[in-house]
């Protein structure tokens, strides 16, 4: 319903249409668009869908996810997102929220990794279940301070590994993440590039994610964002929910820690 309304709005108002379709909407246009959307954030629809998925028995094992341990104990969802990525002893690795949810869908519900990783990102016709689930879990940390794990040795190692990945230049164009996100006030065309090495700007890597993206009109998670940045970096493709992505998210989230997370949001 809300999504339909937004689509209607976009079609009716020329500048909104331009903002949704052009690759480079100006910042002012985007802010106007966001002001319209923020009252009725379409991401909330996916939070509701995710909550339903969380509670409803599903998968080959016909189990719900209510026993999933997101780090605060089985079934504890409130505040858990703001404390991830973190170390999980049962898998002996650091996981971000989506990687953890995928783990629970495999271990509790009996899905296979291959099945979940086959088409993990949203498009106009389909929002994969882990995306809705991560939106629900993220919504349950609205207003919480970001406090990702940083005390376990593996959490520290994940931070340092993530940092090394962030600065690793390779690929056809010699880019690293830092080529585009390592300096203040740089842009690609008109798109501003946050400098993730600074705490205030690192917040952009967390705030608003998962988010309703007006370019394309679907809800995406951070897994998608990092995947698409590696594409722009001309690297090969990182495996969905892999340790490399969790390590990168650890680096980004720890850099932003202490700041308040406002829940699933809106992205250009």
């Amino acid at each position: 319903m809300r999504v339909a309304l937004v689509v209607g709005l976009v079609a009716a108002v020329p500048w909104l249409q331009a903002a949704a379709q052009s690759v480079d909407p100006t910042a002012a246009e985007f802010d106007k668009f966001r002001a319209v959307l923020e009252k009725d954030n379409p991401a909330e629809l996916f939070e509701a869908k995710g909550e339903h998925l969380w509670r409803t028995p599903g998968g080959p094992k016909k189990a719900s996810l209510e026993k999933c341990d997101l780090g605060l104990g089985p079934g504890m969802v409130k505040g858990a997102y703001a404390q991830m990525p973190r170390y999980f002893a049962d898998v002996d690795r650091v996981m971000d929220a989506e990687a953890r949810i995928v783990h629970c869908m495999i271990s509790l519900q009996g899905f296979s990794y291959a099945e979940l990783a086959k088409a993990p990102f949203s498009n106009e016709v389909r929002t994969p279940d882990p995306v809705s689930l991560v939106a629900y879990v993220a919504g349950q940390s609205r207003g919480e301070k970001l406090a990702p794990g940083r005390s376990h040795p593996k959490e520290l190692a994940a931070y340092n590994n993530g940092k090394a990945v962030f600065f690793y230049r390779a690929g056809s164009f010699d880019f690293s993440c830092a080529s585009c996100h390592g300096v203040d006030n740089q842009r690609i065309r008109t798109q501003p590039l946050p400098n993730f090495t600074k705490p205030d700007q690192a917040l952009a890597a967390v705030q608003g994610w998962p988010g309703y993206r007006m370019t394309g009109g679907v809800v995406h998670s951070l897994q998608w964002r990092l995947n698409d940045c590696f594409r722009q970096q001309r690297f090969p493709r990182p495996e969905y929910a892999s340790e490399t992505l969790s390590a990168l998210m650890t680096y980004l989230t720890v850099n932003a820690s202490g700041q308040v997370y406002k829940g699933p949001g809106i992205k250009r």
Partner: protein, 204 residues
């Protein structure tokens, strides 16, 4: 022995929890991060796993945070310069109109691209005055020829820089378009003309 006693005294996990350290040195961290990437990445479309490798230039830039010691920098820049293949016909200037289209085109070399590579110059540089949506990772190239002069050395510099940016500035953030065969000789000539032709809008 000593360590065990200490750990028991302090209650093991608590001690670990509050003062966890990463005992690895930076070289080791980088090596392990790379191993992790080699495991976690898959080739996709035209983007093969060979792209995760660092050549001599990137190995130096990665190791020294884009600031290798001067002697190493000079040596590698010289090696990079030697890789530049200058046009056999000796002509460095093509058609600036074609160059403008190449500069605008930001496609190419990503896993979903098929062929047909653009220069993506506007992604990073201000160039022609008509395009206001330009990036700022690179310096402004507006009036490049007009400011630098239209002589053959500057033509050579423009062509060489596009061919292999690292020959002039080892850890430049600019891609090496000729070196990695992203752009053809003709495309690089056209781009040189875009920057260097006195009739190009860039130099008005």
């Amino acid at each position: 022995m000593k360590f065990t006693t200490l750990a028991m005294l302090a209650g093991g996990t608590v001690l670990l929890g509050s003062c966890a350290t990463d005992s690895r040195d930076p070289t080791q961290v980088r090596a392990e991060a790379l191993t992790m990437m080699q495991r976690d990445f898959k080739s996709q479309g035209i983007a093969g796993m060979d792209r995760l490798k660092e050549d001599s230039v990137l190995a130096a830039c990665n190791k020294y945070d884009d600031n290798p010691p001067p002697e190493l920098t000079a040596k590698l820049e010289k090696e990079q310069f030697a890789t530049i293949q200058w046009p056999a016909d000796g002509k460095l200037m093509g058609d600036w109109k074609a160059g403008e289209r190449i500069a605008q085109n930001g496609q190419g070399m990503a896993w979903n691209d098929k062929g047909g590579v653009g220069g993506s110059c506007y992604n990073c540089h201000q160039i022609g005055p008509a395009t206001t949506s330009f990036g700022t990772i690179g310096t402004s190239l507006h009036q490049f020829g007009k400011k630098r002069g239209y002589g053959p050395e500057i033509q050579r510099y423009a062509y060489g820089k596009i061919y292999n940016s690292k020959a002039y500035n080892l850890c430049s953030q600019m891609p090496r378009f000729g070196h990695v065969k992203a752009l053809t000789e003709q495309q690089m000539k056209d781009l040189t003309a875009l920057l260097m032709d006195p009739a190009s809008p860039v130099n008005q």
